[in-house]
């Protein structure tokens, strides 16, 4: 399965994402730079975490207006799988590929710790490798992960099963509404999540709770 990783100035989790995709898919992902207007023919596009453009203006706001994001939007419209992690999630909401917004953490503090995630919908292309309601572990590291959407959008997300990951067991690190940690778009091929599943894919990481997400998205049987 072929994948591509989007590179932008200020991202710092790109090497983690490249390593995870290489190990899980068996081949190194292509990389695309912010000014690229074309993305190679791939099955999955990943936007890693970090601090694109120094988080200036709003997290992800400037990255979302770069040429490469128009190319990502075109691919997403054609049904290509897209995953945005952390800053990647912020970029996807700023680009309008996912609804809502990620605001400053309610605590006003940067949080870097492990949280628990409940699989809120196991019937998506990203979570079919998990059991419904299963609780997994995942690291988080962010300052702006407080998900918010207006009441109508929230009702739609909840009603259509677009909330995919929820912080579980009182581990919500940021004040996110309804404990939302990750959502998919209405077509189900674009996922954004604040936690870092790419940092928990093998024994050396202390566990492989995040591995099934990438295996599911890449169509690889566990």
């Amino acid at each position: 399965m072929k994948s591509a990783v989007v590179l932008l100035p200020g991202l710092n989790r790109d090497r983690d994402m490249i390593a995870a995709l290489t190990k899980i898919s068996g081949q190194a992902p292509a990389t695309v730079w912010q000014t690229d207007t074309e993305i190679p023919d791939v099955d999955l596009i990943a936007i890693p975490g970090g601090f694109s453009f120094g988080d200036y203006l709003r997290c992800g706001a400037i990255a979302a207006r770069m040429p490469v994001m128009r190319a990502v939007a075109e691919k997403a419209a054609k049904g290509v799988t897209v995953i945005g992690v952390c800053n990647g999630f912020q970029i996807l909401v700023e680009a309008g590929l996912l609804p809502g917004v990620l605001m400053r953490n309610a605590s006003l503090k940067f949080v870097c710790r492990q949280v628990k995630l409940q699989i809120a919908n196991a019937n998506t292309m990203f979570t079919r490798g998990y059991q419904p309601g299963q609780v997994i572990r995942s690291p988080v590291a962010h300052h702006d992960g407080n998900y918010f959407a207006d009441a109508d959008t929230l009702a739609r997300l909840e009603g259509e099963g677009q909330v995919v990951f929820r912080y579980a067991d009182g581990t919500n690190p940021n004040g996110s509404i309804n404990d939302i940690a990750g959502i998919v778009n209405d077509k189900g091929n674009v996922l954004g999540l604040m936690p870092h599943p790419e940092n928990l894919i093998e024994a050396a990481h202390g566990g492989n709770d995040g591995r099934a997400l990438f295996e599911s998205a890449l169509g690889i049987a566990a």
Binding site: R58, A61, R65, E94, G100, V101, A106, N146, F148
Partner: protein
């Protein structure tokens, strides 16, 4: 031409930064400080003299980049 764009959070959107500032002001002894909401100001220099066109452009800038209209309102003033 110069313009000032003010971006503020919509009513009902939680503003933890404004809340922290509100507490800090009370802590400094400023009595009677009610709710504080934090926003952003952009001072922009523009070529040309057509105010109507400038206003249209500035609003487009807000919609496309300067404000996130999910949670923010904006106002445009040309001087």
């Amino acid at each position: 031409m110069k313009a000032r764009i003010t971006v503020t959070l919509k009513n009902g959107v939680l503003d933890p930064q404004g809340k922290a500032i509100e507490h800090a002001l009370s802590g400094l002894g400023f009595d009677g400080v009610g709710q504080v909401r934090q926003g952003k100001v952009f001072d922009i220099e523009l070529a040309g003299t057509d105010k109507a066109k400038a206003e249209t452009d500035l609003k487009a800038m807000c919609d496309k980049l300067l404000a996130n209209t999910v949670i923010e309102n904006y106002s445009v003033a040309i001087t």
